[in-house]
């Protein structure tokens, strides 16, 4: 959706759009400040309507659950890495998986980063299967481990502005449920934009880790293409293909 929302802004705020219509609006809001402001104003009014709703106190258990889950999500990567370090018995098989994945799929410059993800996830999945991890990871972590442990595809990104980065690659699930972008030596902050069904969607900012920047995205569909953007300019892009 490239044109402005019009009256759909208010219907969106009221929750009166169908899910497909909502998805289209969400994609537009990611790139349009003007419509974001209009939706925001409508949401403020809708929030006022909530004052006539009878209020109830949430149970203490909800607070406990939600705080624990939020803390787990925030530290999911580091907690998985700790398992890699502490589980020497699993290290050999995980390294083997990483070596195999790297040999088949990845270029040397950033292979270590992508392989480390595979290693972490593969080890996590093995632990999950053995039951040792189930009590320690929340449902979202388990989902992440299982999803990423599945087969993935990969593609290099074509640089359009060579000075913006040294190299970049994307790993992605064939069902479009996730993708992982690795950029070697980015010159500055990079945004990932994914194109799904002809609509561009801002998927977030890559996080810098040493000389590389990465972003893991859970997606709801199969992106046909992705691009990395710096200050609004496309610095690299890739077309994504999928097995039938």
């Amino acid at each position: 959706m490239n044109q402005h929302l019009g009256d759909d802004a208010e219907l969106y705020a009221l929750g009166s759009l169908e899910s497909e219509e909502r998805d289209a609006v969400d994609a537009h809001l990611a790139v349009c400040a003007e419509c974001s402001q209009r939706v925001g104003a409508a949401e403020e009014t809708v929030a006022r309507l909530a004052s006539v709703v009878p209020h109830i106190e949430p149970s203490p258990e909800l607070g406990t659950r939600i705080r624990a889950a939020a803390a787990t999500l925030r530290s999911e990567s580091s907690s998985l890495k700790r398992f890699v370090v502490s589980s020497s018995g699993m290290r050999r098989s995980a390294k083997h998986v990483a070596r195999e994945q790297a040999r088949r799929a990845l270029l040397p410059v950033w292979a270590a980063v992508a392989a480390s993800l595979v290693l972490i996830v593969a080890l996590g999945a093995a632990l999950v299967q053995s039951g040792r991890l189930k009590d320690q990871l929340q449902a979202d972590d388990l989902a992440l481990v299982h999803v990423v442990y599945g087969h993935f595809q990969h593609a290099p990104l074509t640089r359009r502005i060579p000075s913006a980065l040294a190299a970049a690659k994307v790993l992605y699930a064939n069902d479009g449920s996730w993708l992982y972008v690795v950029v070697d030596r980015p010159a500055g902050d990079l945004h990932l934009v994914e194109r799904v069904q002809g609509t561009d969607r801002d998927a977030g900012t890559l996080a810098r880790r040493g000389s590389v920047a990465t972003l893991f995205v859970r997606a709801a569909g199969r992106p046909a293409a992705i691009s990395l953007r710096a200050a609004g300019n496309i610095v690299a892009s890739a077309q994504l293909t999928y097995r039938q």
């Binding site: 208010e10 974001s36 009014t45 006539v52 999500l73």
Partner: protein
């Protein structure tokens, strides 16, 4: 922490910001969800899922959109409406709205009567067709197509009625805040 720095800290995924956001908004969020779902346990699950989704992808909230509170209420409402639309228990509530029965506002100890009265008064100032559109959309949880079919008017008419009504309600609220 005031609202804007708190929103910025939330986007940055600082744990203390999450704690404050939850503490400030939990009652309202759970209340909104329960009103739609009609069940306290389902409402808490709904708030749990919606809040964690935002926490996982904080970039989905942009400060220029407005307050984080309004955004979170919208997220919880949408989560609850999605669940409600997919289950059969919506039938009883729909029947009530379909028959044109007046909406029942239940007074409970936690309810802020002054706020509720202001909202009711503001709704009362809307033309009947606009008020009905808002009531069906917000309190009835209907989609725009369901409202159009129920009222027997074109979809575009519903869109413009909803937009006009919310703008008027916003102006009324702003005037009272001053």
């Amino acid at each position: 922490m005031s609202a804007e720095p708190l929103a910025a800290a939330f986007i940055a995924r600082r744990p203390e910001a999450f704690e404050q956001v939850y503490t400030r908004n939990a009652v309202e969020l759970v209340s909104v969800a329960r009103y739609i779902l009609g069940d306290a346990a389902a409402a808490e699950d709904c708030v749990h899922d919606a809040l964690l989704r935002v926490w996982r992808t904080p970039q989905s909230y942009r400060p220029e959109r407005g307050s984080l509170r309004a955004f979170l209420i919208a997220c919880v409402r949408n989560e609850a409406l999605s669940q409600r639309r997919s289950v059969a228990r919506r039938q009883e509530r729909e029947r009530k709205v379909t028959e044109g029965a007046p909406l029942e506002f239940v007074d409970e100890p936690m309810l802020d009567r002054s706020d509720a009265e202001r909202v009711r008064a503001a709704l009362g100032q809307l033309p009947v067709e606009q008020r009905l559109t808002i009531e069906l959309a917000y309190y009835g949880g209907r989609t725009q197509r369901e409202i159009a079919a129920q009222l027997g008017v074109p979809l575009g008419t519903i869109k413009s009625r909803a937009a006009l009504a919310l703008k008027k309600l916003g102006q009324l609220g702003d005037a009272e805040d001053k």
